[in-house]
């Protein structure tokens, strides 16, 4: 009887561990994608803000272009890409 119960406990442990691992992998993947997206958005915004005030050095993931009436910044973080456009003050409208 005890032997039978031990087998059931082991089975439950393996099954629940597999489910837990699956959940962890899925949740980690989701969180990682979210992390990359938010990090990219923040990086692009910060770089655009710095570009507006005259900074010229940026992280390697960031591409800065001064076009027309705004600064255009694109940042790539892993598979995520983020674009930010901030206007020059003379052309800003609120």
């Amino acid at each position: 009887m005890i032997h039978h119960n031990q087998g059931q406990a082991l089975f439950e442990l393996i099954l629940s561990s597999m489910v837990a691992c699956l959940v962890i992998v899925l949740a980690s993947s989701l969180l990682f994608r979210c992390w990359q997206r938010v990090q990219c958005a923040y990086l692009a915004f910060e770089s655009a803000q710095q570009a507006l005030i005259g900074e010229t050095t940026f992280p390697y993931q960031v591409k800065v272009e001064f076009r027309g009436t705004a600064v255009h910044v694109s940042a790539r973080c892993g598979r995520e890409m983020e674009r930010v456009e901030l206007p020059f003050l003379e052309h800003a409208r609120w």
Binding site: Q6, W35, A92
Partner: protein, 221 residues
């Protein structure tokens, strides 16, 4: 998930049941804590962006207002000079045109005075509302426009003057914690002005973002 309920694990040794539950609880706990941690960072970044945009909007509006005021004062000064030349010419050749020209000159002078008062009121409002409306904002006081007008002469009120040399740059800045927004309004560098600007001395003011001054200067003096 039988072990969580405990109903079907009747007879399972309590040590084994407890260890499985403990491991699962730990996994859930770590995931929840990790999730909250990452969510906290997301929130902090979002707030930083929100505050930066709030400061930018506020400083940008003030810079536009200052630029418009300076441009308006300059252009109305130019109009006054032209009117005074017209009055002087009309005094000798066409005296009937003098009174309406003088009324027009006085009208322009009144509008200038109102512009200056409006800027002073904006300066007061800026200080009362901590720059951008948040009590933790640390604004630099808005630049003062020190224009003055000499007493009227035979032609009427003279244009506004600046005591001494007028600054070529006016600076506006607000900080909030570690976020700063700064702008300056300055005369467009020489060479960009047209023939009219060169002849009349009328200069073009331009607003642009700039790097903030040291934090020590970003609080009230």
């Amino acid at each position: 998930m039988n072990m969580l309920g405990g109903k079907h694990s009747r007879g399972t040794p309590k040590g084994i049941q407890g260890s499985v539950q403990f491991a699962l609880v730990m996994v859930v706990l770590v995931m929840v804590l990790g999730g909250f941690g990452i969510w906290g960072i997301f929130r902090s970044w979002r707030f930083q962006v929100e505050h930066q945009l709030r400061l930018n909007r506020c400083v940008g509006k003030a810079a536009h207002r200052l630029r418009d005021t300076l441009v308006d004062l300059e252009s109305s000064n130019q109009r006054m000079r032209e009117l005074r030349v017209s009055i002087a010419a009309a005094m000798g050749e066409f005296p009937a045109a003098v009174p309406p020209l003088k009324i027009a000159l006085q009208g322009v002078a009144k509008v200038q005075d109102m512009r200056l008062w409006a800027w002073k009121a904006h300066q007061g409002q800026w200080l009362l509302t901590w720059g951008c409306g948040n009590i933790r904002d640390r604004p630099l006081p808005l630049p003062s426009l020190k224009h003055y007008r000499s007493p009227p002469d035979i032609l009427g009120p003279p244009p506004l003057e600046w005591p001494g040399l007028m600054p070529k740059t006016f600076f506006i800045q607000v900080s909030y914690k570690n976020r700063h927004s700064a702008a300056h309004v300055q005369i467009e560098p020489s060479g960009k002005g047209g023939f009219y600007e060169t002849i009349t001395g009328h200069q073009k003011w331009k607003a642009s973002w700039t790097s903030p001054q040291s934090p020590a200067r970003s609080s009230f003096p």
